[in-house]
């Protein structure tokens, strides 16, 4: 949710930076996300005093220290719970939650799921680098099976989970994906910030120390042509992708398939993106490299009542029903008896 206050002075991206030295590894994808977030806040006309960045633990979760807003670096996995308390106490604040794949999906999986289903007015940025960076390179809940790390020298045996599938299943009202160095990130974050209720944006983020180029296919590194491996979603538009925009996604027998345009296949045969379609959202969340291009952009968006407003609404309703409520009557409620002097 964005601030409703009229800006007193136009703030620039640098006004949203703190005076602290940024201490991520040189080349970390977090830098790109930090810059774009500061730009988004400036674009939105946000006020520093009304903006709160809450984080858990991990490299990404140092994010609040580098923002010139209010910030709360909390404990491992619990950022969503702290942020929920902030919103309940003061629904006017623009609250952002920065979390990673380890923080948000492993130790904090429970809290993430419940923040999503409650539709607390949070902007959640889930930095997914498929590795534990801060603890020096163990596999994470999104690491691919067979991943060799210090804690899995023979290869990880855990199947990875899909953050977007979880978000859709947890009744999230806004689900999107982008990539740290992708030009779409600013737009996606802006759209997410404007969404009332919880927005979850999965951001593919490069950990260039422990899991470098895990998303090379989506960033165009290692010789990949990225447009062949990402599907840029646009509402109302057919799902076309590829450097030459000659490929698309078609549904056959309820199963998605990649098709080559021409050769008897036209745009009219392709799936059309509808961000309000919950079933389609789940389907999109299942498209994985290398079999499919991976969707970026807004996968799902729906209006749903916001949790903190429902909380405040019940308080308002109770006050309306009992406008004369006072402490004296509360203490004297029920049966009382008087002992005379």
């Amino acid at each position: 949710m964005i601030s409703q206050n009229t800006p007193l002075a136009v703030l620039k991206p640098k006004d949203f930076a703190s005076d602290q030295d940024v201490r991520w590894c040189p080349g970390c994808g977090d830098y790109a996300i930090l810059k774009q977030t500061q730009k988004v806040l400036a674009n939105l006309g946000s006020r520093r005093e009304n903006t709160v960045f809450v984080a858990g633990i991990g490299c990404s979760s140092r994010f609040p220290y580098y923002m010139g807003t209010y910030g709360f670096h909390t404990i491992h996995g619990r950022g969503a719970a702290v942020a929920t308390g902030v919103k309940i106490a003061n629904p006017e604040l623009d609250v952002w939650l920065v979390t990673g794949d380890g923080d948000g999906l492993s130790i904090g999986g429970n809290h993430l799921m419940h923040a999503l289903r409650r539709n607390v007015g949070l902007n959640i940025m889930l930095f997914n680098n498929r590795i534990y960076g801060l603890t020096k390179g163990q596999y994470s809940p999104t690491s691919e099976q067979g991943k060799k790390t210090p804690s899995t020298p023979m290869g990880s045996i855990d199947p990875p989970l899909s953050p977007l599938s979880i978000a859709v299943a947890a009744e999230a009202s806004f689900v999107a994906r982008s990539v740290d160095v992708d030009k779409s990130l600013t737009d996606v974050l802006e759209t997410a910030a404007k969404h009332p209720g919880t927005s979850l944006v999965e951001i593919y983020q490069d950990c260039n120390v422990f899991n470098h180029e895990a998303f090379a296919y989506a960033t165009g590194r290692r010789g990949f042509e990225k447009e062949d491996h990402v599907l840029r979603l646009e509402a109302g538009q057919p799902m076309i992708f590829g450097k030459d925009r000659d490929k698309g996604i078609r549904l056959t027998d309820l199963k998605p398939e990649v098709v080559q345009l021409g050769d008897g296949v036209s745009e009219a045969d392709l799936l059309v993106h509808d961000p309000s379609d919950h079933c389609l959202a789940f389907l999109l969340s299942r498209l994985r490299h290398p079999e499919f291009p991976e969707p970026v952009g807004v996968i799902y968006a729906a209006e749903k009542p916001r949790y903190e407003e429902l909380v405040a609404g019940q308080v308002a309703e109770a006050r309306e029903r009992r406008p004369d409520a006072n402490l004296r009557d509360l203490l004297h409620a029920g049966e009382t008896f008087t002992v005379e002097a």
């Binding site: 709160v52 209010y70 308390g85 902030v86 419940h114």
Partner: protein, 647 residues
């Protein structure tokens, strides 16, 4: 005497008593808690002093008729000032064989035992695991030891309700009211309070007027039975208690605590944000507060204990009063988040309604064994304020005091109440709202000179919350640099901050009232207690003094920091006894801090102390027969060494 409900009652001889302890016991579906609560309310309104001990199984419905499924409710009501639910039961109402089996042991010799004879069937005797062919009602020893009265309550109740048209099941459910009617007659209680309750509950709330009518009919039928049946030789009369003038109501500890927290919200102008995960016996605080949203109370039933604590911290960070409530194992889960509140120096109230442990332990039974967890159960040096109410009514004051300290000193405050205080009830002198002191809040100061970790003369940092322009700053779990609050790994700074956090808590002691022992100033022995046992200790000390012994007692409401005169008080008395419902946690703290040879009386049976247990300990401390033991435990009416206690 009139029942006050048009029931005219002929005079039977009434024996005057100063107090009586009665206990309702039956299957957990028998409505014993409701019957006990009604008796309590009626007696409180009648003007008696009352104290109660509800005792129910952890299972919602253990198999009917088994000893495991027995639910009990004990009430001590008196014409004098009382502080405990009583030791020995004067009258037991046993609704089935299992209830008799489970509770007869607590009845005084010669005491009244009213049994629901209808339920003493072969099947039920078997369920209660009595030996084949044995019926306790025919037992000569039992009959000669107690006044055993057989009343076919279930049958009489069904007959009384035969004309109501109510089904057998619904009619059967009224038998608790039939039993209550008998007891009301026996102790000369008016029926109005219960009649009003039944009408409100069944007619207005549940929309079942026919059930209300049946319950009232059963209540009156029980009452008439007392009058007409020739089985009771005596009635008992317990006059109004001489208690201080004022307006009173009955409260349980959890009710009082909920009201105290709302009062704190009103007194400080901050919204109360109560975040909790359901857990026995703390859940009723969540229920009570959820019903009071007109006071701006926001309640959040979180997904788990950790989230509850974190959300409360988030609420405090955002400028309101964050409170989280739980019981023992829940406190363990909150530990990491409490550490976050310590290092970020945010206000936070953590209510721990202690219960038997470790782990899930005895979920519905009382204990006070989380003191060391509250004090030290977090990583590193992590000092917090710890408070403990000394009676159900005192929970109100503790709620306000915790909020005052949390906000004025920017610190987590743990309230250690317990299952006995939480569920137990007593008459409570309703305080004058006008006389409650407003809670002054710390100022954030001036934006231009704001430093998030600058401290005032009390060592307290300013409270600036999101939304305040010019005060933007970052906090978190990483060590803070003194004054600026920036992340710092500097070794000297960590030592300094560790000290500053400790000093801040120590300075709270300047506002802590001095501990004031009662009893004999020149006593040989001080009996010091905290929390639930305070009532039993008070009564035992007073009884010892009546016997001419030189004894003093004291309640410790502030466990961290402790009153500044505590060391001096402990040294003033040659001997110190500390009864606790744990293995000696306060005793350990005091021995370590003050090098005092405090002795312990330690009971961990899921039940509060009997006065006689503390009386025995007082006697043994004074007559020199205690010996070298640091602690004794009550067992089967004796005090024994904990160690050789084997089965």
């Amino acid at each position: 005497m009139s029942s006050g409900d048009g029931v005219s009652v002929a005079q039977k001889p009434a024996k005057r008593l100063t107090s009586a302890v009665i206990r309702f016991a039956g299957d957990s579906g028998d409505g014993m808690q409701m019957a006990g609560t009604q008796f309590t309310d009626t007696s409180a309104l009648f003007g008696n002093d009352v104290a109660t001990l509800p005792d129910f199984p952890a299972e919602i419905r253990a198999p009917a008729g088994t000893v495991a499924g027995v639910s009990g409710f004990q009430i001590n009501f008196a014409s004098e000032d009382i502080h405990t639910p009583g030791d020995r039961v004067n009258a037991l109402i046993a609704m089935n064989p299992a209830a008799l089996k489970a509770h007869i042991v607590d009845v005084e010799p010669g005491g009244l035992v009213i049994v629901n004879e209808t339920e003493f069937t072969k099947v039920n005797l078997k369920k209660a695991k009595y030996a084949e062919g044995y019926n306790p009602l025919d037992d000569e020893v039992l009959n000669s030891s107690y006044q055993l009265l057989r009343v076919p309550i279930s049958r009489l109740n069904s007959e009384a309700l035969a004309e109501t048209g109510l089904g057998a099941k619904d009619a059967g459910r009224c038998r608790n009211m039939y039993a209550l009617g008998i007891v009301y007659w026996l102790y000369g209680r008016p029926l109005e309070t219960t009649v009003t309750f039944i009408e409100n509950y069944f007619t207005k709330k549940k929309k079942r007027p026919e059930v209300a009518e049946a319950n009232i009919k059963a209540l009156k039928a029980g009452y008439y039975f007392g009058e007409t049946a020739e089985i009771f030789s005596t009635r008992y009369a317990i006059d109004k208690a001489e208690i201080a003038p004022g307006v009173y109501r009955k409260v349980t500890g959890n009710d009082a605590l909920a009201m105290g927290l709302i009062a704190a919200s009103e007194l400080s102008g901050k919204d109360l944000v109560y975040c909790s995960y359901p857990i026995t016996p703390a859940s009723t605080i969540l229920h009570a507060l959820s019903a009071q949203k007109q006071f701006g109370v926001k309640t959040f039933q979180a997904e788990d204990e950790i989230a509850a604590c974190c959300a409360a911290i988030g609420a405090s960070y955002a400028g309101q009063i964050g409170v989280t409530g739980t019981s023992g194992p829940g406190l363990a889960l909150k530990g990491e988040a409490m550490g976050l509140a310590v290092i970020t120096e945010l206000p936070l109230i953590v209510v721990n309604v202690q219960r038997g442990g470790p782990s899930t332990g005895l979920p519905t039974k009382t204990e006070q064994a989380d003191l060391l967890q509250a004090m030290y159960g977090r990583n590193s040096d992590s000092p917090v304020v710890v408070l403990a109410p000394s009676s159900p009514g005192d929970c109100f004051e503790i709620g306000i005091e915790a909020a005052r300290i949390a906000m004025q000193h920017m610190t987590p405050v743990v309230i250690l109440t317990d299952g006995y205080l939480a569920n137990g009830a007593e008459p409570w002198a309703i305080p004058d709202v006008e006389k409650l002191e407003p809670i002054e809040l710390p100022e954030a100061g001036d934006a231009s000179s704001f430093e998030p970790y600058a401290r005032d003369e009390k060592g307290v940092r300013p409270w600036a919350s999101p939304g305040m322009a010019g005060f933007e700053h970052r906090i978190g779990g990483l060590e803070k640099e003194h004054v600026t609050g920036n992340v710092s790994y500097d070794p000297e700074n960590h030592q300094l901050m560790t000290l500053l956090r400790q000093q801040k808590i120590d300075k709270v002691a300047e506002q802590v009232p001095a501990i004031e022992p009662y009893g004999d100033a020149d006593a040989e022995l001080l009996v010091l207690g905290w929390g639930g046992p305070c009532g039993s200790i008070y009564t035992a000390v007073e009884r010892a003094r009546e016997r001419g012994l030189k004894v003093a007692g004291a309640h410790l409401r502030y466990l961290n920091p402790m009153p500044m005169n505590l060391g001096e008080v402990l040294k003033r008395f040659p001997r110190v006894l500390i009864p606790e419902i744990n293995m000696g946690q306060l005793r350990s703290m005091l021995r370590a801090k003050f090098l005092v040879d405090a002795r312990g009386l330690n009971k961990v049976q899921g039940r509060p102390f009997l006065v006689e247990e503390i009386s025995m300990a007082i006697d043994r401390m004074l007559d020199g027969t205690w010996g070298d033991a640091e602690a004794l435990m009550p067992r089967n009416g004796e005090l024994v060494l904990p160690r050789p206690w084997t089965n």
